[in-house]
Symmetry: C2
């Protein structure tokens, strides 16, 4: 593994492919952290395993597990899935496993962004985050890929989406947060994204999903489904606090053009009814230092947009909500060549994210 400091993907002719381009594989991390996951991860394991197995139908899946949980991960996952030992602070592969870029010859490289647990000492979600922050480089080493050292720029994989044709989509609430790169102006953040993702246009949604602790990552509210097409998490309930947020994003998207000068087709993806955590569920969560992670009745940032596009399927969450079926239909229509698989993901949601957050694709060579 060569660590590249003096150059950028743009300068070297590498770009971040869209998620709907062909993958070599996918990385997940086995859940273990007892203040994120109920019952020390025991509740979320089932959904994690289902997600991994669904993706493994069409991709080579690698699951990273800490030493203590390695044997359990190995026992729960089928033999087609690779389990490797790797320490982490939690299980958000999207946010701190490498962002991969590739060139026209099919060479793949990783980007090692800085990670500070979604806000560092300003409004980060746990401390310390050193093991998470080491994972990108460890994975590039494991995969024998060169890696760009961009640890001086704080970015999570879930805070960016690209269309593969020069456009990147982010949220202002996250990328301009004081907990990320407070000394960089918006234009400087754009320059970093352009240089490392090799894009020419940044779309700045104003916000994300209400209550999303990541400072509202884009991957929970809006995603490209094809060049020129996005899905947007949407509610028709004007009394819901989310309504104004989704509406603001819609207004922005309707006037936006992408890197190729196209207007975007915005497909509304219904939101489930507000999901709140129960007292019983809270009892399964250990405290984070001296504070409970969640309080009974707290609203969780549930959204169907948090799906993963695998080579032959789209793996999306379900919440046992009446909108589950409708959301699945919308995605199935947008991905006619892929089978949409819906996995009951309440136990992942309780951890603070969903299927897209716990996965990271490796583009094919």
């Amino acid at each position: 593994m060569r660590i590249i400091k003096a150059s950028t993907p743009y300068a070297d002719g590498f770009r971040m492919p869209a998620e709907y381009e062909r993958h070599d594989g996918c990385i997940l991390i086995f859940p273990e952290r007892s203040d994120s996951w109920q019952y020390g991860g025991y509740a979320a394991r089932k959904a994690f395993v289902q997600v991994a197995e669904a993706i493994a139908e069409s991709e080579h899946v690698t699951v990273c597990a800490g030493e203590a949980q390695y044997d359990n991960a190995r026992a729960l996952l089928s033999e087609r899935i690779r389990v490797v030992e790797m320490s982490s602070n939690d299980a958000w592969a999207r946010d701190y496993c490498p962002t991969f870029v590739k060139n026209d010859k099919g060479d793949v490289r990783g980007i090692d962004w800085g990670f500070n647990a979604w806000g560092g000492l300003y409004d980060g979600l746990y401390f310390p985050w050193d093991k998470d922050n080491r994972m990108a480089r460890k994975l590039c080493d494991l995969l024998d890929l060169d890696v760009y050292d961009k640890r001086d720029f704080i970015l999570e994989g879930g805070s960016i989406h690209v269309d593969g044709e020069g456009t990147c989509m982010v949220t202002e609430s996250c990328l301009l947060s004081q907990g990320r790169n407070p000394r960089l102006a918006r234009a400087e953040i754009e320059e970093n994204l352009k240089a490392y993702l090799n894009v020419s246009k940044i779309l700045w949604l104003p916000c994300g999903i209400y209550g999303d602790e990541t400072n509202e990552h884009v991957d929970n509210i809006c995603a490209f489904t094809a060049p020129g097409h996005v899905v947007l998490a949407w509610t028709e309930d004007e009394t819901d606090v989310q309504y104004a947020m989704s509406a603001a994003c819609l207004t922005y998207l309707e006037q936006a053009v992408d890197a190729r000068g196209r207007r975007l087709a915005v497909h509304k993806l219904p939101l489930p009814r507000p999901v709140t955590i129960t007292e019983e569920e809270c009892r399964g969560l250990d405290a984070c230092w001296d504070e409970p992670t969640r309080m009974p009745g707290e609203r969780l940032a549930a959204s169907y947009v948090n799906f993963y596009i695998a080579n032959k399927s789209v793996v999306m969450p379900g919440f046992g909500d009446p909108a589950d079926e409708k959301a699945k239909e919308v995605l199935q229509e947008l991905f006619p060549d892929r089978r949409v698989v819906q996995i009951y993901a309440r136990d992942i949601l309780i951890g603070g994210g969903n299927i897209h957050c716990i996965t990271q694709q490796i583009p094919s060579k």
Copy 2:
């Protein structure tokens, strides 16, 4: 990774290649254990890194490092070497990383033998050994190779040598030890070796190197250098306790025939003068439970036979002994197509083994 329980390499047409056949790579483990290695591994690191780099000249080297030492391993090793996170109890890749077998189509599989720290509760060298015992399977998973589950049979990689043409060489002192497979008769042990290594002839040397804590592994006293050719650790000093031991092996080898019916050419490889550990060196070793690992003046099992055959080199130990040069010449003559590289290995020897003990080759496909 498929775990194979119902079959054997012999039944499936897989055999263990000789070390002088072509390799895809080599595995090492970064030293850390403070009762094996002086100063918490700090003394041995230098030699380990030199060995890894020497092998990396002609093979893809993977170094396994525990979480705590990962960053140090990564910083000390060059970028052509891969570092992966993997927990272990110590750093003896030869003895508990997989023994690899291959078939005529070039498929490679691993064997996961049982490991009990060279004797378990009978005369094992440390407790516990659970992390070591998990490594073979973890590495097969990492390498995407199927693995034979043979954990019910205790065997270390350093206790076997094969010529790649049907012959396996072992020592009675080790394989018949009460700390290995005491319920198996010699003939049953032979059957296991034949079934898993796919050999038809077992050569049983009576013993190994005096003071070798592994119950005298074969890889410290005798090694195949080519089909029909072995090197034997030898001293001309008849007053040395090792003399009778090497002589007994010579007597055995001179009457032996290999699997092809050949008489063996036995090449004597001089031993260094007895190497003893100093008081200063002992001060660098932590106690193993309530006993010191070594006592000042203790004789160490130094032998030049403990070399590694890489694709384009032979990496052998040196001890700062007058015989260093002669031993190198003998090996260079026996390996005319490889460059013999000698590495000062006293700090590895203090840990209880040498260069062959800390390496494990992966045959090429």
